[in-house]
């Protein structure tokens, strides 16, 4: 004992760092003070099954699936000092009643059992209760394959049913909003959707009616679930009660391939997963990134992918003949044709218009192209709207920050007016356009474009600008290429290739590379997109030492623009107030 009085006890060592010691299934670990028991179990790599708990939402503790056994050291009698065992911990007195792991926080010397007879009995019971009135229509349910009810049934279910009475009948196929469909019989009343709409979307249109076993989720009278964040409720619904109309009955989820990517619909750059089968995108869902989009994503952004699957995709390079008709051509001929014209022009007669939706690699190479051509008429097309106060940035271009860094300019849109005026006044004779239908987005007129000696443009779908172009270069969509982007806060993130571009189309960075190579035989060879990022890393200070592996799935902050994402700010406040885990 004389030795141990001089030695510090584990509790003191932990307290010095704001930690507490918790015994989880027999092993002692240190976790930060105030951690929820369920999160502590996660840290100890012990799974606690749950339905209603979601770290981004308040914890009502209503599903009762996360019941665990808890123990604390017995309170010493008055005047008696607590006794410590050889390992420095007090003995744990186990409570006979289970507690929910989701809403309770850990304490020093607490014990948690995530297995054992009591815990297993609780889980068996809750699973049985959840299934007695469930329709068990897994074969026709869209959630099948990603359903928590199925998953925990396998691990904690009974295998057979003791329920022989009539099930409760509830509304099915309920139209509660434009993008979401509700099946109340499948609902397990976890209230995640209700809490999401209330706490995150600030549009509390969902609620329960009736009571007891007849409890039914529905929209409040006179309201619809038509918020631009409504599809997130389908993501967090642990069962098949809320399903997305867009994805409903389209594909079994187990056939889908997941590719991590980034939303390119605005400068926030929400992290996403692209769900594909073959060469088709079936859905886009948000991916958790607590520096960008938490777990959420706006509906209009996630649904903006169907054009990628379009039958009308441009799939071969085309050159306009003398009669004004576009004829299919080869990449070699198309690039050659463009290069021929570009070579003979004076620098002041050439302008390049890129897109704020392009990757860093493409924008960097556009800069190189401008350098090769000796022109400084290089711009992006601005796309500004209003922020929705959550995840949609006022800047609808995904990579304005990237362009600012790569082109070392404060305003990558500055030259647009001069270029438009130059084209109108016929001073500019050759125009290279990437990814933009400038007739619609940049205020160009068809008549002005007719003055041009050469209009080279890159598109993925036919449009007015393509129609006016002498050379049309079919490109790849966001889902068909790799690359990196910098979001509004200055975070470097990467998109990945989920599907192949149409047969005759080409990855955009390769198109620009080939144009440069055709113009400048001494241009350094670039074989892989990694080579481009390496070149960026060598030339642009903010990108120093960056590569695709380093960017990883969650990105890296390469600069601080001072901009913030409103939804994240709101989330930080809720974490500070202890309302959510975060």
């Amino acid at each position: 004992m004389s030795e141990s009085t001089t030695e510090k006890l584990p509790k003191d060592l932990a307290a010095e760092n704001g930690m507490v010691n918790v015994q989880i299934d027999g092993n002692w670990i240190q976790v930060p003070k105030g951690t929820r028991m369920i999160e502590a179990c996660k840290m100890a790599e012990k799974e606690v099954p749950h339905y209603c708990y979601h770290p981004k939402l308040s914890s009502p503790g209503n599903c009762r699936m996360c019941l665990v056994q808890m123990g604390m050291p017995p309170r010493p009698a008055p005047g008696e000092a607590p006794s410590y065992g050889e390992n420095g911990y007090q003995e744990i007195g186990w409570m006979p009643r289970p507690v929910i792991a989701c809403a309770n926080t850990v304490a020093e010397n607490m014990g948690i059992r995530t297995t054992g007879e009591l815990v297993e009995t609780c889980r068996h019971g809750v699973m049985e209760f959840l299934l007695i009135n469930h329709p068990l229509d897994c074969p026709i349910c869209d959630q099948a394959g990603e359903c928590s009810l199925q998953e925990f049934s396998v691990e904690h279910g009974r295998g057979n049913s003791r329920f022989v009475d009539n099930k409760v009948k509830k509304p099915k196929n309920v139209d509660i909003g434009a993008r979401i469909r509700l099946d109340d019989e499948r609902c397990i009343m976890c209230s995640r959707c209700i809490r999401f709409m209330d706490e995150v979307a600030d549009d509390p249109v969902l609620g329960f009616t009736d009571r007891g076993t007849h409890t039914t989720v529905t929209v409040h009278p006179g309201h619809l679930l038509d918020n631009n964040y409504s599809l997130n409720t389908a993501d967090i619904c642990p069962v098949g009660a809320l399903t997305a109309n867009d994805f409903r009955f389209q594909m079994r989820v187990w056939f889908l391939k997941e590719t991590k990517s980034i939303d390119t619909n605005c400068a926030t750059g929400a992290n996403t997963v692209l769900w594909t089968r073959g060469n088709e995108i079936f859905r886009v869902t948000p991916r958790e990134n607590n520096e960008v989009n938490s777990c959420w994503m706006p509906d209009n952004h996630r649904l903006n992918f169907h054009y990628v699957n379009s039958e009308a995709r441009l799939n071969t390079p085309m050159i306009r003949n003398k009669a004004g008709v576009h004829e299919p051509s080869t990449w070699a001929a198309a690039v050659q044709k463009a290069a021929e014209h570009l070579r003979i022009r004076q620098s002041g007669e050439i302008a390049i218009i890129g897109s704020g939706k392009q990757t860093n690699e493409e924008l960097f190479l556009l800069g190189k192209l401008a350098e090769t051509l000796g022109t400084d008429l290089l711009t992006l097309v601005p796309r500004f709207g209003e922020s929705d106060g959550k995840l949609i940035s006022a800047d609808r271009n995904a990579n304005t920050t990237g362009a600012t860094l790569l082109w070392d300019t404060e305003d990558p849109y500055a030259k647009l007016d001069a270029i438009r005026e130059g084209v109108r006044s016929k001073r500019i004779k050759t125009l290279v356009v990437f990814y933009e239908n400038i007739l619609e987005t940049a205020g160009f007129k068809e008549a002005d474009l007719a003055h041009l000696d050469l209009l080279v443009s890159n598109h993925i779908l036919p449009n007015g600008t393509a129609k006016c172009s002498h050379v049309v270069l079919p490109g790849a969509s966001f889902a068909e290429k790799r690359g990196s982007l910098v979001n509004i806060t200055g975070r470097l993130q990467r998109i990945n290739k989920a599907i192949e571009p149409p047969a005759g189309a080409m990855d955009d960075w390769e198109i620009i590379r080939d144009l440069i190579a055709a113009l400048d035989k001494k241009a350094p060879p670039l074989y892989l997109i990694e080579d481009v990022l390496k070149a960026i890393a060598n030339e642009v200070p903010a990108f120093e030492d960056q590569n695709f592996s380093k960017i990883g799935d969650l990105g890296v902050q390469i600069t601080l623009t001072g901009e913030t994402i409103p939804l994240l700010e709101a989330e930080y406040h809720r974490i500070e107030r202890g309302e959510i885990v975060g």
């Binding site: 209503n62 009762r64 019971g125 009539n166 609620g207 007891g212 409890t215």
Partner: protein
């Protein structure tokens, strides 16, 4: 007390001790302030306002008063749970949502002696530092709500409520809030949610202990009507003197509501622990109906565990242990808990040998299945499942294995829910199967084993056993 005359036919039994019910059924009594003040009403308030609030809490602690709503938690201790460094407003709520089947005591206080409650509440508000209090009245007491509103208006008029009460500098306001017909609103956190205008979903504890995070996330004390009335008498008698009523650890008087198969059902105010079950049922209530004998008793409201009348119980531990027959059990909190049931809300439901236990159980299950709020899984799904099984038991289409299923469902609910409703709905089932298993089994039939009770079930059976279809 001898000068008080009671309405003919409603005189208290000699074994009663009328404290709270002193004025109930009294000749010449009405719920007006005038009558109440003529009887010495509000003098305790005047006295209490001169005391130190902490001294009032100490008196209540010394009195040993235990909550009369059902759980029997010491009232003074509950008041002491308000965080000492609290800077938020404190609320007091009077739980007048008396909805436990078999309980009908609070309604008589509300109907006949509302000022006793108001006086008790203002004293309690002063003690806990609450300036705003609510009386949550169940929807089924419309008359009580009117009477309370009238009484509160009278009290306000007489400066017994409102600003600077009786010149003491203490401000206090009381509002009546009416429920909308849900049993769960009697659960204190459900009540608070309801008061906040939401569905009465009970809150998880921890962290939402009302004394720290109650109404509008402020410290809140929720007490039963009868408990708050006792506060007035504790101030009058002094905590120590009050604690001499009843028995140690089970002090004071309490109102028991006897219903069912006795000759004289009704409300009886007795000193806690001074009467045995036998004395209450035979002496006070006049025994069983002619030609009948007692079979079973639910001693503390419908959620208390049922007891067999021919049973005997081992009470106490070690050398103090003694075996008592059912009729020798003293009516107090601790003995009934030791006997495996509870004193609960004081609703004594008596059943004689004419009663079918399957019907009794089904009746209870129907109530709880109907009243489950539906927030948490075990109670939401389990309560109705149990009802469906006992529906079949009563109809004669249950199999013996259904009784085991019923029992296991109850244990799957018990102790695993957010609020005590889980126990309320599972205890009657557990106890009924424990005490009357043979009788329940006798109403089942082996031939009902495996038969389909629903069209879905029949389809499934044919699918799984095509040869037998």
């Amino acid at each position: 007390m001898s000068d008080i005359q009671y309405i003919h036919g409603k005189q208290p039994h000699p074994r009663e001790y009328r404290l709270i019910f002193r004025n109930v059924d009294r000749v010449g009594w009405d719920p007006s302030l005038h009558t109440y003040r003529n009887d010495g009403g509000y003098e305790q308030l005047r006295h209490a306002l001169t005391m130190d609030p902490k001294a009032i809490t100490d008196e209540v602690k010394a009195s040993g008063l235990r909550g009369r709503g059902g759980a029997g938690f010491p009232t003074g201790v509950k008041w002491g749970f308000i965080p000492p460094n609290n800077t938020k407003p404190v609320y007091l709520i009077c739980n007048a949502d008396e909805s436990e089947p078999g309980t009908f005591k609070d309604r008589y206080i509300l109907h006949q002696d509302p000022h006793q409650l108001i006086e008790g509440m203002v004293i309690s508000c002063f003690a806990v530092g609450a300036k705003l209090a609510y009386i949550y009245v169940r929807e089924e007491f419309p008359e009580a709500a009117h009477i309370l509103e009238r009484a509160l208006a009278e009290a306000r008029e007489a400066n017994l409520l409102g600003h600077n009460i009786l010149g003491s500098g203490f401000d206090c306001e009381i509002h009546v809030h009416r429920g909308a017909g849900a049993y769960i609103c009697g659960e204190e956190t459900g009540l608070i949610e309801s008061l906040e205008g939401k569905r009465p979903y009970p809150r998880i504890k921890p962290p939402y202990f009302p004394a720290a995070m109650g109404l509008y996330m402020c410290p809140t004390i929720v007490n039963n009507v009868e408990s708050l009335c006792h506060v007035k008498h504790i101030i009058r008698m002094g905590g120590e003197e009050y604690s001499k009523l009843g028995t140690p650890r089970n002090t004071g008087t309490r109102i028991v509501c006897v219903s069912g198969d006795v000759k004289k059902p009704g409300y009886y105010e007795i000193e806690v622990g001074k009467l045995t079950m036998g004395e209450l049922l035979h002496e006070v209530c006049g025994g069983p109906k002619d030609g009948r004998s007692f079979k079973a008793v639910i001693p503390g409201g419908s959620s208390a565990k049922i007891m067999r009348c021919e049973e005997s119980f081992k009470i106490g531990k070690g050398d103090d242990a003694k075996t008592l027959s059912f009729y020798d059990l003293p009516l107090d909190f601790d003995t009934l808990a030791a006997a495996g049931s509870m004193a609960g809300s004081g609703g004594v439901i008596v059943m004689d040998d004419s009663r079918r236990m399957s019907w009794v159980l089904n009746n209870l299950n129907k109530f709880y299945a109907h009243e489950s709020c539906g927030q948490c899984t075990p109670c939401r799904e389990g309560s109705t499942w149990m009802r469906k099984i006992t529906d079949r038991l009563v109809a004669g289409t249950a199999a013996p294995s259904d009784i085991d299923t019923l029992n296991s469902i109850a244990y799957q609910i018990d102790g695993k829910t957010i609020c005590a409703f889980g126990e309320a709905c599972s205890w009657p089932v557990e106890a009924m199967i424990d005490k009357f298993r043979d009788e329940l089994i006798s109403e089942t039939s082996e031939s009902n084993e495996g038969i389909a009770h629903s069209a879905e079930n029949e389809a499934q059976r044919r699918f799984l056993q095509p040869s037998q279809s």
